[in-house]
């Protein structure tokens, strides 16, 4: 594994994607819709924050722009984190947030590509990454400089097609593709080490031919620097960013408590969670 260069300061001036703001939007949606998968969204908040703020290019802020970069959320369970970013970009409005899961509404509990701004239909795991591999292959054939980011969960790495796709990405020298593993250590029914141990992920992806970095997935500056570094090195190789994360990150009573994969908020836990984010104006 290559070592990480000194992190460069990220563009902190853009506060739209501040992690606490994104987490608040997730909580608002989850409470409004009485939904689950809050912890799955919280572990990737800093990852999507850095991607949307500093890396993903959408010409004219158009989520359908032909020349855009692609963010493929293969772990569809984290979709509320992506909705929160789309809300910051103005692609979703307050009504979408307040009416999450209302009858006849369009935003679902898992990624659905018919929602403009989402690139794949996922949630059944192991699907999105292959689509991302195909998009990356297509963009390379077109000779553009567009990039593809695919966020997969560590639990999702149980699925065989991920490894099929990894072979293909390396064989076809897809250096426009970055796999980002949300390594929060949990899957639906327990710790990944207890369910199906993944071993040394960095070594695995390196052996598949990926340029690989392992970083703290909640340190924005580090994540940003790692993404820049991975694009800068290893011509002809796909990239793998192993992001060490905490499931439920940001609200102490949810952190590494796998019940928040499934638990719904009530009035009290909602208020406590909002309070824990420490955003001005939100404290009791």
């Amino acid at each position: 594994m290559i070592s990480l260069a000194t992190p460069t300061a990220s563009a902190k001036t853009d506060t739209r994607f501040a992690p606490a703001r994104l987490r608040r939007t997730v909580l608002e949606m989850a409470y409004a819709g009485s939904t689950v998968h809050i912890a799955c969204a919280f572990s990737i908040i800093e990852l999507v924050s850095v991607l949307y703020r500093n890396h993903l290019r959408y010409p004219n802020n158009d989520p359908r722009a032909e020349g855009r970069d692609y963010l493929v959320l293969s772990k569809g369970h984290g979709v509320m984190a992506q909705y929160a970013c789309m809300h910051e970009l103005g692609w979703l409005n307050d009504s979408h947030i307040k009416n999450y899961f209302a009858d006849g509404s369009k935003l679902k509990g898992l990624s659905d590509s018919r929602v403009v701004g989402l690139e794949v239909t996922s949630g059944s795991l192991g699907h999105g990454f292959s689509v991302g591999v195909g998009v990356a292959m297509g963009l390379k054939r077109k000779g553009t400089d567009q990039k593809v980011y695919a966020i997969v969960g560590d639990g999702e790495l149980n699925e065989g097609p991920i490894w099929e796709g990894a072979l293909v990405a390396a064989h076809h020298k897809m250096d426009n593709l970055m796999l980002i593993v949300d390594k929060n250590g949990f899957q639906a029914m327990g710790a990944t080490d207890d369910v199906l141990a993944l071993g040394d992920l960095s070594a695995k992806f390196e052996s598949f031919g990926f340029e690989t970095l392992e970083v703290d997935g909640h340190d924005e500056a580090t994540v940003d620097a790692a993404i820049r570094q991975l694009w800068a090195i290893g011509a002809g190789k796909p990239k793998a960013l192993i992001a060490l994360t905490v499931k439920g990150k940001g609200v102490p009573f949810m952190e590494s408590d796998n019940r928040w994969h499934y638990t719904r908020l009530n009035a009290q836990t909602y208020a406590e969670a909002i309070d824990a984010l420490g955003l001005p104006g939100d404290s009791k």
């Binding site: 590509s113 794949v120 292959s130 591999v133 796709g165 064989h171």
Partner: protein
């Protein structure tokens, strides 16, 4: 028929550089000409059908026109969830090509035989299902699959049965039955698909029956099935596929709602092949040889005559 397939694919690829052929490491001699003439449009995606189908969806998302080739035992079956989610749900123009359908790989056993592929594709929304009977239908189906610009599964069965049409079909009309023989209206009419159209013609010759070919299993024209019902004394469906959820099912779904009619479904009776042997041998094992079919059609007709 396989030449018609290869030629159609080459013509499409030459006329549209966005056409890509993805294969799951199959088609050894079949694609020699394609590889020679369109080498940049040929992708061997490895023995990894699930990833290949997802990848085809990604390629279609950025404007390419993937044709995904493999055995009918694999392409519509193993990645059925990718077919549903990555391709059909998003209505992407990907053509799935399943070769060797039915008992073509008779000596290789169950892993390579496919008598459930129509069932596994027909219930997926947006996905059209084609099953050509001869070289003319093959060319028309390939051109249709390209211009339909939607998800398509094209089933290729036993390819050396000979022609059932006398001239080219241009273009294929969506969902339509093609009449290939006029027979007596007081006897059962035969509706067949794929390799069994040839069988249907041979059986019809013996008993002077009408025959329709169904190159499109989904959609299937309700009006055409209704018309066939009106022009016959009962219907017999023939397919080298399970009688569950295939052509027979599609026909009875229409007749039961529109013109309740006795329908004899001839196909595989919800069972795997028991023995190794030639294609002809396996057809006999499953009661799909001409003599067995004639006996069943006769019994069906006599029963229909008694009860009508």
């Amino acid at each position: 028929m396989r030449d018609a397939f290869s030629n159609a694919l080459i013509q499409l690829a030459l006329s549209d550089p966005k056409v890509l052929l993805l294969t799951g490491d199959h088609g050894y001699a079949l694609f020699d000409e394609f590889r020679k003439r369109c080498p940049e449009q040929y992708i061997n995606a490895g023995i990894a059908e699930q990833n290949m189908v997802g990848m085809a969806a990604g390629l279609a998302r950025v404007g390419f026109r993937p044709f995904v080739y493999g055995l009918a035992a694999f392409i519509p079956i193993r990645p059925v969830e990718q077919n549903k989610l990555a391709i059909a749900h998003d209505d992407l123009p990907v053509v799935l090509l399943g070769d060797g359908a039915g008992f073509v790989y008779s000596h290789l056993g169950t892993s390579h035989q496919s008598t459930e592929d129509i069932a596994c594709t027909r219930a997926i929304p947006n996905l059209e299902v084609l099953s050509p009977a001869d070289r003319f239908e093959m060319t028309a189906c390939m051109n249709y699959a390209y211009s339909a610009n939607c998800p398509v599964y094209l089933r290729m069965g036993k390819s050396d049965r000979g022609d059932v049409h006398v001239c080219r079909i241009d273009p294929l009309s969506q969902g339509r039955l093609l009449k290939v023989r006029d027979g007596r209206a007081d006897r059962p009419g035969l509706i067949a698909t794929g390799s069994m159209v040839r069988t249907a013609l041979e059986v019809a010759q013996e008993r002077d029956l009408s025959v329709w070919s169904a190159p499109s299993l989904k959609p299937l024209s309700s009006d055409d099935v209704y018309a066939a019902t009106c022009a016959s004394n009962g219907l017999v469906t023939l397919e080298e596929h399970s009688v569950l959820s295939g052509l027979g099912a599609a026909v009875t779904e229409i007749t039961s709602e529109r013109q309740p009619t006795r329908v004899l479904r001839i196909g595989v009776q919800d069972t795997f092949s028991k023995h190794c042997g030639s294609h002809t041998y396996l057809l006999e094992e499953h009661g799909l040889d001409n003599q067995s079919i004639i006996a069943r059609v006769d019994a069906f007709f006599q029963n229909a005559t008694i009860t009508s």
